[in-house]
């Protein structure tokens, strides 16, 4: 009898779990904030694996998840406190970092004040290594996982610092090439003039 009750409870839990997994908990408030604050067009790809968000059957959407992925999704959904290692299949690296850094509870709480999320993220975290912290990319509406996406002038300043050696090398090479070419052309011209003068004599 007890076994039967466990079986019924287990089946009910499985049904509820499956139904729950099929419901996406996307938080468009964050996307809206990023877009309004930056004036740039953004979409769900900032935090989610799929640019259209978690609903659907595409890659990185709930409808496409296998048992293992559903289990990872479940663990991520239960990560209410900060510091829990998560690997949600419907989130990208930045989305998972948000959950790990601030916890699911805070993400839900901040929906009414999405601007505060930037301040709660690790200010040193720069997942794409483009020199612009993820928190700033969120506020500026650029992609925290794409090195080519960012405020153009910040990217320029960062890359200028990083590429100092290459730029210096190209500068020296260009100057030497120009100097060499100029002298070569002057030499040819002088040789041609000398040959012409010799012919005239």
């Amino acid at each position: 009898m007890r076994m039967r009750r466990y079986a019924i409870a287990g089946a009910a839990f499985a049904v509820l779990w499956t139904a729950g997994a099929g419901v996406a908990n996307a938080y468009p408030e964050y996307q809206k904030y990023s877009q309004t604050n930056s004036g740039r067009v953004t979409n769900c790809a900032m935090c989610h694996a799929h640019p259209d968000g978690p609903d659907g059957a595409g890659h990185g959407q709930i409808g496409s998840l296998n048992a293992d992925a559903l289990s990872r999704l479940g663990r991520a959904r239960a990560a209410f406190e900060p510091g829990t290692e998560v690997d949600s299949p419907i989130l990208n690296g930045f989305g998972n970092t948000i959950i790990r850094t601030v916890g699911k509870s805070k993400v839900i709480e901040l929906r009414s004040r999405p601007g505060e999320l930037a301040g709660m993220l690790d200010q040193a975290s720069d997942l794409d290594g483009d020199g612009i912290p993820d928190a700033r990319e969120y506020a500026e509406g650029t992609h925290p996982l794409q090195a080519g996406s960012g405020n153009p002038w910040s990217l320029f300043a960062t890359n200028l610092r990083r590429s100092g050696f290459h730029i210096g090398a190209i500068l020296v090479a260009s100057i030497l090439t120009m100097y060499g070419l100029a002298n070569l052309l002057r030499g040819w011209h002088a040789a041609a003039a000398a040959a012409e003068a010799s012919d005239e004599r």
């Binding site: 067009v41 953004t42 640019p51 794409q146 996406s149 990217l155 320029f156 290459h166 260009s174």
Partner: protein, 368 residues
Amino acid sequence: MNAVSKLSALAGFVADRFPVEKMNVASMIGKKVVPLHRMSWAYYLGGLTLFFFLIQIGTGLMLLFYYEPTVSDAHASVEYITNHVSGGALIRNLHAWSSSAMILCVLAHLITTFAMKAFEKPREVIWLSGVLMLFLTFGFGFTGYLLPWNQIAVNATKIGLQSIEEVGAYLPGSLATLPATIKETIQGEATVGQATLSRFYAIHVVVLPLLTLGLLGMHVFGIQLHGMSRGTEAVKVRFEKFFPDFVIKDLTAWGVAFLVIFVVAICLPFESFFSYTLAEPYNPLGSTPEGIKPEWYFFFVYYPLELLPFWVIILASNAAALVLLAAPWIFRGTSRKTLRALAVAGAAYLIIVTIFGQQIYDAIKGVQ
């Protein structure tokens, strides 16, 4: 005028433009001189355009090694070039930035040569080949824009091709179907897809470069034959030797241009000016994303197109193209002073619409 005299006039026209007696190294290089006056700086713009075109060829060939012109792989191959190929991001950025630099130089070259009346007899053929190369350069920009197969590329191309078809509504009789036929020929199928990508790719990497090389050969040959135009109405003009003085200065300008484009390409990703949503792979089932615009060098026609009736734009752009092509005959008797004023007006229009087009559009449409 009978056929013989027509042929004789034609032969005379060709002989004046391509004088055989000047076709030797001494005349075309050794004895060639370049005028020195306050607009002499403009003589370097043609060379700079050529330099950026050479960068286009070099970087374009490198991109060909990895780029896949298929709708399934085009975007992924561009991502692969950018993120995984050694130096790929730099080469791609060099290609993108130098294309913009080339268009900037070609426009500046056109405006300054117009202001200097460089189309005067016997330089009509040089002018014509230059104007045709300007059109080809826009063709390079339009066809190259589609190749990364991202949201902005495909959607902007769709809008561009749709505009061609819409011209038909303003043409009489059987001509009305011609634009649709042209669009279908370029597009290759019912909507922008694999056939379009294949055709744009072929046009971008084979057809346009071959046409450009042919016209470029004629253009440079003509310049070497006839020398730089005088460019000024001043009676007393100083000259410098083309070889080696001008050539050395020209090469120095190339060196500086290379440094600038290299620094920009290594430090500033071309796509950082778009929102990242526009750089995502094209989704045929998705709606047109916000922020779709052509490249900056089409703004001079894009913003008027958004603000004015379509027929006005067709009329104005066709008239402008005809005036450009026929400039040597239309402005034969016009003074350089008047031409300079016209050139300044044209340049001011291009600069204002390109830089402030969005603000003007927002102000007129009342967008907050």
